[in-house]
């Protein structure tokens, strides 16, 4: 993509953001389906941004997608998260498709043409968020056909999805880390809602529990071997980058709004601009800047890895990308807390027209739990044993 095309996407993202702003509060308050938000993204041609031009997509890169996620999140974090995860699914399909599987290529072209949305089904009740294992197994009825019977306790935008990308165990006798990734179109499945979504925050994601059932074919399987490679090469890095981008965008928005409010001269509440106020603001700024720099650094490192065409990223990259998620989720939540201290009761704790701090606070509380930070910390502790000589060489 050229710089001019990138700029066009950015302006498009801002226009979409402005419309998202108008609906975000109602979606959050009434816990309604985010259909309006997703339709806005579809109409803005953002659903195929990361699909290469030869498949009819926008041909954008991950840096651009990260910027777009930040902008969208400044209007509605839930919609931005849905879009970010959709980008993660798109990249996973593009980068890991098996060249002999025309079905997947054709599907990517259709997704691109119709601006369709892919939901992700990785969590299971028994194993929680662990990406490297699966409980539900495929039941093979012939060499080529199988039955998929899978519960997804939390599926973001499950009721709106055109496609589902699902992790399952190869067959019931397989080890739990013998995971396959299955892509299924909505009309290939019987979909039953299992639970409704009534959370503290991220209410606009409508992440209901669903049950998926269908007779599918071998061609629905994205890749037959080596699921860990997909997770390390694409699912985890892109997921963490897009999540961190969205959280960062939402935090930047309330920071900017807070400062505008403080600077309104008629706003007496903040007119005694105290040292305390400046110190808190600087703490928020420090968090935003640190996450921003770390995010940009990881985008560069990830691009370097992809150019180098190694099979697996290094242990150091694994640690760094996990740290991006851990750091962004913990620190940006702290930033919303600090902003609430600054804003106080009326413009902070209470829902109001001027600044959605309480929504950002509730939304960002989920960040640590989405792919639990404890799980990542455990992995990073172990990985450190392999990579501890950090001095320059």
């Amino acid at each position: 993509m050229t710089l001019i095309e990138d700029n066009k996407v950015i302006s498009q993202a801002y226009m979409t953001r402005d419309k998202l702003k108008e609906i975000a509060s109602a979606i959050d308050s009434n816990n309604i389906s985010p259909e309006a938000g997703i339709n806005l993204l579809k109409r803005s041609n953002l659903m195929n941004l990361l699909i290469p031009v030869e498949f009819g997509g926008g041909g954008g890169g991950l840096q651009l997608a990260s910027d777009v996620a930040q902008i969208l999140a400044s209007g509605c974090l839930s919609t931005s998260m849905m879009w970010g995860m959709h980008c993660q699914q798109i990249m996973t399909l593009i980068e890991n498709r098996n060249n002999d599987n025309n079905h997947i290529e054709q599907t990517i072209k259709n997704i691109s043409q119709n601006q369709e949305y892919i939901a992700s089904v990785t969590t299971e009740v028994e194993k929680g968020g662990d990406l490297f294992s699966a409980q539900s197994a495929l039941s093979w009825i012939s060499e080529n056909e199988f039955i998929l019977d899978r519960e997804g306790p939390i599926v973001t935008g499950g009721n709106l999805a055109d496609f589902f990308l699902i992790t399952v165990r190869r067959e019931s006798s397989s080890l739990k880390n013998d995971v396959l990734l299955v892509l299924a179109r909505k009309n290939e499945l019987e979909i039953r809602q299992l639970s409704s979504w009534n959370p503290l925050g991220m209410r606009g994601t409508n992440s209901n529990g669903i049950h998926l059932y269908g007779k599918l074919e071998r061609a629905n399987i994205v890749i037959l071997n080596n699921f860990e490679k997909i997770t390390q090469r694409t699912l985890i890095p892109v997921g963490h980058i897009m999540w961190a981008s969205s959280w960062l965008g939402a935090t930047k928005d309330i920071y900017h709004k807070m400062i505008r409010i403080i600077r309104e001269n008629h706003n007496k509440r903040y007119s005694n601009k105290s040292d305390y106020l400046y110190i808190k603001l600087s703490q928020v700024r420090l968090i935003i800047d640190t996450v921003d720099v770390y995010l940009r650094n990881m985008l560069v490192e990830y691009e370097d890895f992809r150019k180098a065409s190694y099979e697996y990223p290094s242990k150091r990259f694994n640690i760094n990308i996990n740290n991006l998620k851990i750091f962004a989720s913990e620190e940006l939540f702290k930033a919303t807390d600090l902003l609430m201290d600054i804003a106080g009761m009326n413009l902070g704790y209470l829902k109001n027209e001027k600044i959605p701090i309480e929504r950002a606070f509730r939304d960002l509380r989920s960040a640590k739990l989405m792919y639990h930070n404890d799980r990542l910390a455990m992995a990073n502790g172990k990985l450190s044993l392999f990579d501890s000589d950090l001095l320059p060489r």
């Binding site: 490297f132 080890l175 880390n177 860990e228 390390q232 697996y312 992995a379 172990k382 392999f386």
Partner: protein, 82 residues
């Protein structure tokens, strides 16, 4: 390669490792990255050795054979120091 060594690796992969599998890629046999680290700790404890940083590479853990060569080398170094 001794059978104890094969048994230790077998804890972390899909099937029991036999002598004719020692040149197969351990990742393909189901050794994921975190399992690699657990395997490392297990081997270090069992053979009372410690892998220097420069041995902690993809190559060392690529096959059972490759890993065994490194273990033998480290065990010998350890013995010559005593």
């Amino acid at each position: 390669m001794n059978n104890e060594f094969l048994k230790i690796i077998s804890i972390f992969i899909k099937s029991d490792l036999t002598q004719n599998m020692i040149d197969e890629n351990l990742r393909d046999l189901g050794l994921d990255s975190l399992a690699t680290i657990e395997l490392l700790l297990e081997i270090e404890e069992y053979y009372d050795i410690s892998f220097p940083d420069e041995y902690l590479s993809e190559k060392t853990f690529s096959t059972a054979n490759q890993l065994w060569k490194v273990v033998i080398q480290l065990v010998n170094m350890e013995n010559s120091l005593v």
